[in-house]
């Protein structure tokens, strides 16, 4: 029995492989539930990443504030959202960054979903 599934374009299900790869990164992001930890990260990003044992790919993605790179490094959307929160980014900022659109264009795309057909 195989648990390999066909890929869905533009989508990375957070499975065991991702969970294994991203454990340190996600653990650091989980710590950002606490204000004191968010402040400690802002005060010394490199030291904070070292404390959680991020690998170079993860650290580079954090430095770049790049969500697609963070996902490629094993990041999970729910924990990454806590990292994004430090910079007051909302979900449209994050969506725009990942799709290569301006924030206004991304918001317009969401509204345009209303034009999809309804029940047949």
């Amino acid at each position: 029995m195989t648990f390999e599934l066909p890929s869905i374009p533009g989508t990375t299900p957070f499975d065991g492989n991702q969970a294994k790869k991203g454990y340190a990164l996600n653990k650091m992001c989980f710590s950002f539930n606490d204000e004191a930890n968010r402040q400690a990260f802002v005060a010394d990003e490199e030291g904070y990443m070292k404390q959680y044992g991020l690998n170079e790919q993860q650290a580079a993605a954090i430095r770049a504030r790049n969500v697609l790179q963070l996902i490629a490094a094993g990041g999970n959307a729910y924990y990454l959202a806590k990292f994004a929160g430090i910079f007051k980014l909302d979900m449209q900022d994050i969506g725009a960054q990942q799709t290569g659109m301006s924030k206004d264009a991304f918001k317009a795309k969401l509204v345009a979903a209303n034009n999809q057909p309804g029940l047949q």
């Binding site: 957070f14 950002f32 994050i94 990942q98």
Partner: protein
């Protein structure tokens, strides 16, 4: 025995918390969502449930990847909402219904759902926002039992399994030796995807068909694998598993359901939102 009076469903986008905090409910952006609630407030005011069993997914507040339960049932006297990292104000704690928690746990294990039990758990916006939306005055007149379904780390439980879990919870509610009135609540969805190049994905047709199925053909969505649901509804659209569990509980009450009110609106934040109330015919 306790009486299962109906089911509620609502999206739980964190931005809703900000809108409530700012008092934005009647602004053009938010009004189409918040206007879904007054008919349901009236229904709740008439039916007056004493307890709400909430099917929800934790987003990295109480559970981390070190220990990630597929199904977890709260058995605490109080559930505290807490800082989730992105600045939405914390809401008031929820009071637990511990006796029903243990009756649900005993029933579920007897029916071979080997759940994790939690006597101490934080609840995130997926629990706190629905209560605030359905009871905007606060000082909630209901106690709760939170039932958490994993949507963080794959493999997620199958749609058919979540529906069966809901049925077992419904059977537990109806065999609970209490004269209290109980409602079930689904928190989450509908179609949306936050992560990846496909961020912003919404599937209106699927959502509308799903909402319709909850009235008359509740097993419709159980035909799909979780992978197919991700493809059709987005990585976070799989939160519709909560709605299937809620509806499964109502199925256990027998004789179908009637719709009290429903609403579907695109978009709030990156999400196609739905709000629903169903009443049992028992």
């Amino acid at each position: 025995m306790a009486k299962l009076i109906g089911g509620l469903g609502t999206s739980h986008i964190p931005a809703i918390g900000g809108a409530i905090h700012r008092g934005d409910q009647q602004t053009p952006y938010w009004k189409p969502f918040f206007d879904a609630f007054p008919p349901i407030h009236a229904w709740l005011g008439e039916k007056k449930p004493d307890v709400i069993v909430i099917f929800y997914n934790d987003h990295g507040l109480n559970f981390f990847l070190d220990k990630m339960p597929t199904f977890a049932v709260g058995a605490a006297t109080q559930y505290v909402n807490s800082d989730e990292g992105w600045g939405i104000p914390s809401l008031e704690p929820l009071r637990g219904e511990v006796d029903l928690s243990w009756h649900i746990i005993n029933t579920l294990i007897d029916k071979e759902f080997d759940v994790v039990t939690c006597q101490d758990m934080l609840v995130d916006h997926a629990c706190s926002l629905p209560l605030k939306l359905f009871y905007p005055e606060g000082n909630y007149p209901v106690t709760v039992v939170p039932v958490c379904i994993n949507t963080v780390q794959f493999p997620l439980p199958k749609a058919s399994r979540c529906y069966a879990l809901g049925k077992a919870v419904g059977q537990a509610i109806q065999s609970w030796g209490s004269d209290k009135k109980v409602a079930v609540l689904a928190s989450g969805g509908l179609s949306h995807q936050l992560d990846g190049e496909r961020a912003g994905f919404i599937n209106k047709q699927f959502d509308l068909q799903f909402l319709q199925s909850l009235e008359t053909n509740p097993e419709w969505a159980t035909q799909f694998s979780v992978h197919e649901l991700v493809e059709k509804t987005g990585t976070q659209g799989v939160e519709l598993l909560m709605w299937l569990a809620m509806r499964g509980a109502l199925t256990a009450a027998g004789s179908g359901v009637k719709k009290v009110s429903s609403n579907y609106h695109i978009p709030i934040s990156n999400t196609a939102t739905a709000v629903l109330a169903l009443e049992t015919n028992n």
